[in-house]
């Protein structure tokens, strides 16, 4: 009689992404993790596959005046307005501490008002070896010019992707806004123009009014909605983008537990990014890492990548 040996399948969360071997397909979303050291009292940032820095601009920015956060059902509205030290100040005063303490790959999030801004920043980052990849933010709804405007106009998008691809010595991820008619088309244009990867979604434009003051709550009037409320929109967008492109996708938008992350992989995301959840459960990456490992073990998967795209019809 043959002996049946129960062999436990070795599972791994290791994920190949743009030439890097990430230890996990979990990263953080820009703007919810400072410069990578905000949560050291809750978890080791190096458990993440990569970290995404708070958005940087050429010049120092104070950010928006007035209230920047509004609480709303199953989400938050933010209008921070890209407060940041500016690239030179960042380089002089923040980069050292980050590179001392962060060993996992680092993604810088790049913002500008004009194409020239993005080009200049990309040039400067060429000289900063400690940054591994750039996430080009053409989707921020909280700044007056640039940002989202770039991600909604097809001609400008093509121009900016081609130009930055021509300049950069690092892989480029383009972050898309959901505030468009056809996000699949936008992703397709970005990919055709040379984007190495697509990350989506940025926040959904929204607002809230204080009925006592009878005025908008946010100082900037409008803000970006994030959190559980946007998950169905984000998931739909990832699914649509996957239908149009075969380059890697970073999926984000309302991921609150392991099940949510699984949905994003199945829709087509290779990497999942966690933002708002870091604000409401600062230990979430630990739980998510465990959750994904457990899922792989229970379902006999060697790697989580086996479920990527699986829900595509």
């Amino acid at each position: 009689m043959a002996k049946i040996i129960n062999k436990k399948l070795e599972t791994s969360l290791e994920t190949k992404f743009l030439g890097f071997k990430l230890k996990s397909p979990i990263i953080n979303a820009s703007g919810c993790f400072g410069f990578g050291l905000s949560h050291v009292n809750y978890f080791d940032p190096n458990i993440l596959g990569a970290i995404t820095l708070k958005g940087l601009t050429l010049e120092q920015r104070k950010g928006n005046k007035g209230t920047r956060i509004a609480d709303t059902y199953s989400g938050i509205l933010n209008s921070v307005g890209l407060e940041n030290p500016g690239i030179e100040n960042f380089r002089k005063n923040y980069l050292n501490e980050i590179t001392e303490k962060i060993s996992t790959p680092i993604i810088a999030n790049v913002n500008g008002k004009t194409i020239e801004d993005y080009e200049k920043l990309t040039q400067i980052f060429n000289e900063i070896n400690e940054i591994d990849m750039l996430e080009i933010n053409i989707s921020c709804p909280n700044v007056k010019d640039g940002g989202m405007a770039f991600g909604t106009n097809h001609k400008i998008l093509e121009k900016i992707v081609k130009s930055l691809k021509n300049i950069s010595n690092k892989p480029l991820i383009f972050k898309l806004t959901p505030n468009v008619t056809d996000i699949g088309e936008i992703a397709y244009i970005a990919k055709e123009s040379g984007a190495d990867a697509i990350s989506l979604i940025n926040t959904v434009l929204g607002m809230a009014i204080d009925i006592n003051t009878k005025k908008p709550i946010l100082g900037n009037i409008f803000g970006g909605l994030s959190g559980p409320a946007i998950k169905p929109i984000a998931l739909r967008a990832v699914y649509q983008v996957r239908q149009r492109v075969d380059i890697p996708i970073i999926g984000m938008g309302g991921i609150t537990d392991t099940k949510d992350a699984l949905e994003f992989f199945m829709a087509g995301a290779n990497i999942v990014s966690v933002g708002t959840r870091l604000l409401t459960n600062p230990k979430f990456p630990i739980e998510l890492t465990k959750g994904l490992k457990n899922y792989c073990e229970k379902n006999n998967l060697r790697n989580i990548s086996e479920i990527v795209n699986i829900a595509q019809i």
């Binding site: 703007g31 919810c32 993790f33 400072g34 905000s38 949560h39 009292n41 809750y42 708070k54 104070k62 950010g63 005046k65 007035g66 209230t67 920047r68 956060i69 509004a70 609480d71 059902y73 199953s74 989400g75 938050i76 933010n78 921070v80 407060e83 959190g227 559980p228 708002t276 870091l278 604000l279 409401t280 459960n281 600062p282 230990k283």
Partner: protein, 256 residues
């Protein structure tokens, strides 16, 4: 810095919408919490994802509990006000920098407006050896019912209310002006509405007196991650959740 589920030992309505919440907390929190710090508390509502920041009112080291004084104003705090003894609340903290008063500082004037009185109970306990003048203001006598929970026998207390139903009729800044006519404190501590803090600082600066103010801003993360609560200071943008909530009044660039 700690994330825990804490049992409600008490959630007593003081008057109108003012409550005293008592939570059983771990040794970690009890031993590490400083006066002026705050703790973020979940609203119990599944549809409200942000915790709310609550000033630490008092700590009972024997019982192992932290007490908060709060006003049930919006959806979140109103939900917390409905919580019953025995229920568990998820909390995060202690957070922020607290009030640190050096040995050389001995004559202190406190200006507390409305629910801004909250951080001073624990502070008065901790610095009981120092000399205080305690100016307390509020809308009316009901809003100031909390004064009964303070041990003020050895402290010079000046009470005022908007409608004159308790103490002087008028506001705390007017009372402060009166005090400063013949009293020269080492420092003024203040907590309350922004307009009050701004005016306290103006007055203090005219008299060359240092101030420490406890600010409030809408917060999301509480951990210096999101920049939702930034304020402008002479040293650049600072976070109320992490660099504060206590700031030197002289450093704050007040918004209109």
């Amino acid at each position: 810095m700690f994330l825990e589920n804490c049992k409600i030992l008490g959630n007593k309505k003081i008057r109108n919408n003012f409550y005293l919440l008592e939570l059983k907390c771990s040794k970690d929190i009890i031993e590490n919490a400083m006066c002026g710090q705050y703790i973020m508390i979940s609203t119990r509502r599944k549809d409200m994802i942000l915790k709310r920041p609550f000033s630490i009112f008092d700590i009972d080291k024997e019982k192992g509990s932290v007490i908060f004084y709060y006003e049930a104003k919006g959806k979140g705090t109103t939900s917390i006000a409905k919580a019953k003894i025995g229920e568990m609340l998820r909390i995060q903290g202690p957070l922020g920098n607290g009030f640190e008063i050096f040995e050389s500082i001995n004559k202190i004037v406190i200006v507390a407006g409305g629910v801004g009185i909250a951080p001073f109970k624990y502070l008065l306990k901790k610095y009981s050896a120092k000399e205080f003048i305690f100016i307390i203001g509020g809308r009316n006598s009901e809003a100031l019912e909390i004064i009964k929970y303070f041990k003020l026998e050895k402290i010079k207390t000046i009470i005022c209310s908007d409608d004159g139903s308790i103490g002087f009729k008028g506001n705390t800044v007017e009372r402060l002006a009166g005090v400063l006519k013949d009293y020269n404190p080492d420092i003024i501590l203040a907590c309350g509405p922004n307009i009050m803090l701004k005016n306290v600082c103006k007055l203090a600066s005219k008299n060359n007196i240092k101030t420490l103010v406890s600010l409030e801003e809408k917060m999301a993360c509480g951990t210096n991650a999101c920049m939702g609560c930034s304020i402008e200071t002479i040293n650049g943008m600072k976070k109320v959740c992490y660099d504060g909530p206590v700031f030197k009044g002289e450093d704050v660039i007040w918004q209109k």
